[in-house]
Symmetry: C2
Subunit: 434 residues, 2 copies
């Protein structure tokens, strides 16, 4: 399949030429074949006129739990621990594969319609998530987030479910769909597991050359308790077991201590900022200027919609910009719209080890068209300002993931929305919530 | 015109019965005629099936400057004073009636599509705004925001433009459209005028029984400078001239001093919170728990989109909830979704002196239908949580203002969107920005 986009205004995320006007972008197979002012030679299966629209890389939602879409708004108004123990864990205990598939498909529909083309997801029943994402067509780094509440002395890879889950997930799905799916090694968090688990997961990552995905210092309470228990911060403690050796994702990083960010930067770990979830659960505002100064890449995620309650990266960008600039901007200068867009695209791509997030020849063709004739995006004095501060999911006119158009003008081309809504309503909700 | 809504799930904003299910809502003329479980007798011009949708009162955007839509994103990244003096004031100096009409119409289109049915607007060329709002169909309290930079000793009502503007606006537009338009007396702000202006505007309000609309203590700098100059806070200073005698709107209230909120509460003045604009201009986070404890009503506004950059009350609700609960929630308990919805509807209606913002018989029929089958609003564990934390402008399926359907399924029924976009593009932008 070869598709030519003409009359393109593109926000490329390439600092050398951040905005291109009146260019052609050709896509062949899964990749961007050319970007330029001359119409490329050759036949195209389709020519898309982009007049009035802006092309940009699809969003990378670098930390989410997509099946939790079933719990949208459930337990609203609680702090993180109450919300987890009184609402989320009891609901999750009732999940089965069918629920997970339905919840994941519903969340993916929301993500696709709002311009996301790549995610890093951490959840249980991860093989089911894998199948669902593969059908939906976006790219995903999948993680099964090892949890272990047993006595550390009793830990054995042979009896720990999440070790078996890691192995199955890796063997069955790593690289599936010609690289559409990648598997990350994953520890849910320091406080939901223990040293032998960390050692096993780190060794597994080393053996298979996998990146890591962990919740790190999301709340002050979790951070302080770890120091009390181990005399060390979560980031530093996990490092002693080799957890960060291949880089990856430290989700949240709201409460890192002094050396943590420098250590994580040295290991090539990206901080994934989830501003809406962190405010909703009253966890705080991650210090992005500080993390960047320490050399960390910063990407964006929605977290699960149970604590958001949307999969809307436009909103995540705006809330990130507003809260960072107000909380830390006076002494640091402001994060620019370009900084924020990088967090939502290319920085996430790097965190996931993917050659996307930039509109340039050779990159994976993950891109979206945003309708700038909509009243909420007009007039446009600065494209990047409008994308960060004014754009909304409804402005996404097209979502192309890996060279395939998966959503256009409100129509899902890989998902059956009616079937998904029925499945959630008729099976998942009664099954989980009675 | 009589319209019957059937199969209605309604968030009423009536605390006695906050959510009604499976009811009929009848509208006759500009008012809600009945709300009940029995189908009302009589013939209806149209019956609207609300299955899958939620009805709620239309939003009241209680502080905005709608013609500034022309300056969306203009001067992004500056603090309030730089932004005003280097970008906004020079652009505003070039505005003419035709620009104001086009900018107002564009902003009204965005507002109507996102569920707003009533606004409090403060801007220049206010008679042009009046004409435009009257055609668009929503209700508005209009204010011309008196500004006077001359020597106070030289002030004379006969030579002050904004005195003449007050008189013309009141005489030509107060009560127009059977109450669709109301005129508020208005001082732009303490720091943009002086005592003789305050006295004149206060006397004008007293004479014609008008409410007041003023920017109050938006930034710490403005608040402190007023104390340095007059040994008194802006709220208290203006009160000495009788400015608050008929109640009205104190926009922003980010930096009130101790007695200010109690004084304004006693005068029946509502604080209008503009959380996005206050963060964008790095002004701060208004202390809503404190204002409420002092007895003030709190409503929501977008401010002008030049500092927002949207007219999206859904977003304003979510950002208000997230920032209040994070900044002040720990010691105060959280603002509930119901509290936030009240700020966006009935509290704004009260601030504007209007009998709307509640779905009940006899109220003005300002109401919207929100499509809860959209993936981003599904599932729904709690209607109010979903409205505050998950809903978006694109979920607005219908906007009815004063009993008339003005927007339905993406189509504007009172505005010609194509004509508005052309007028902005072909006339206003070249005229202002060259």
């Amino acid at each position: 399949m070869a598709i030519l986009f003409k009359n393109v205004t593109a926000v490329t995320m390439d600092p050398a030429q951040p905005v291109l006007k009146d260019v052609f972008v050709a896509v062949e197979g899964t990749k961007i074949a050319s970007v330029g002012t001359e119409r490329p030679a050759g036949d195209f299966d389709r020519v898309v006129d982009c007049d009035g629209k802006v092309m940009m890389p699809g969003f990378v939602n670098a930390h989410t739990h997509v099946p939790m879409t079933l719990m949208r708004g459930y337990g609203g108004g609680c702090d993180l621990q109450t919300w987890l123990h009184d609402y989320i864990f009891p609901a999750e205990a009732k999940l089965d594969d069918r629920c997970v598939a339905a919840g994941a498909a519903l969340g993916l529909a929301e993500m696709i319609a709002s311009g996301t083309t790549c995610i890093a997801d951490m959840y249980m029943n991860t093989e089911t998530v894998a199948k669902t994402v593969l059908e939906a067509g976006i790219s995903a780094n999948l993680a099964c987030g090892a949890v272990y509440f047993g006595d550390p002395a009793d830990f054995s890879p042979a009896t720990c479910n999440d070790c078996a889950n890691h192995i199955r997930l890796y063997e069955n799905w790593h690289g599936a769909g010609d690289g559409q799916l990648l598997v990350d090694a994953s520890i849910h968090a320091e406080y939901t597991s223990c040293p032998p688990v960390w050692q096993w997961v780190a060794d597994f990552a080393q053996k298979h050359n996998l990146r890591m995905h962990v919740h790190v210092s999301e709340t002050a309470s979790e951070h302080v308790k770890c120091i009390e228990k181990y005399s060390e911060t979560p980031a530093s403690l996990l490092d002693r077991y080799g957890v960060w050796q291949n880089g990856g994702i430290a989700a949240h990083c709201v409460c890192l201590s002094g050396g943590d960010a420098e250590l994580l930067a040295k290991r090539g770990v990206t901080a994934v900022h989830n501003p809406v979830s962190n405010l909703k659960l009253m966890s705080g505002v991650a210090p992005l200027f500080f993390l960047r100064e320490c050399g960390m890449g910063v990407a964006l995620g929605t977290d699960g919609v149970a604590s958001n309650n949307s999969h809307n990266i436009f909103e995540e960008m705006k809330v990130a910009a507003l809260t960072q600039n107000w909380n830390f901007g006076e002494e640091n200068g402001q994060l620019s719209a370009a900084d924020i867009l990088a967090m939502a695209t290319v920085n996430g791509a790097k965190a996931l080890g993917r050659d996307t997030g930039v509109i340039a020849p050779g990159k994976i063709a993950d891109l979206i068209l945003v309708d700038f004739t909509a009243p909420n995006l007009f007039p446009c004095h600065d494209i990047m300002e409008n994308l960060v501060y004014s754009a909304a999911p409804a402005n996404v006119a097209m979502n192309m993931a890996r060279g395939k158009i998966i959503y256009e003008n409100g129509v899902f081309l890989t998902l059956d929305l009616e079937r998904i809504l029925s499945e959630v309503k008729d099976y998942s909700l009664p099954h989980i919530f009675g």
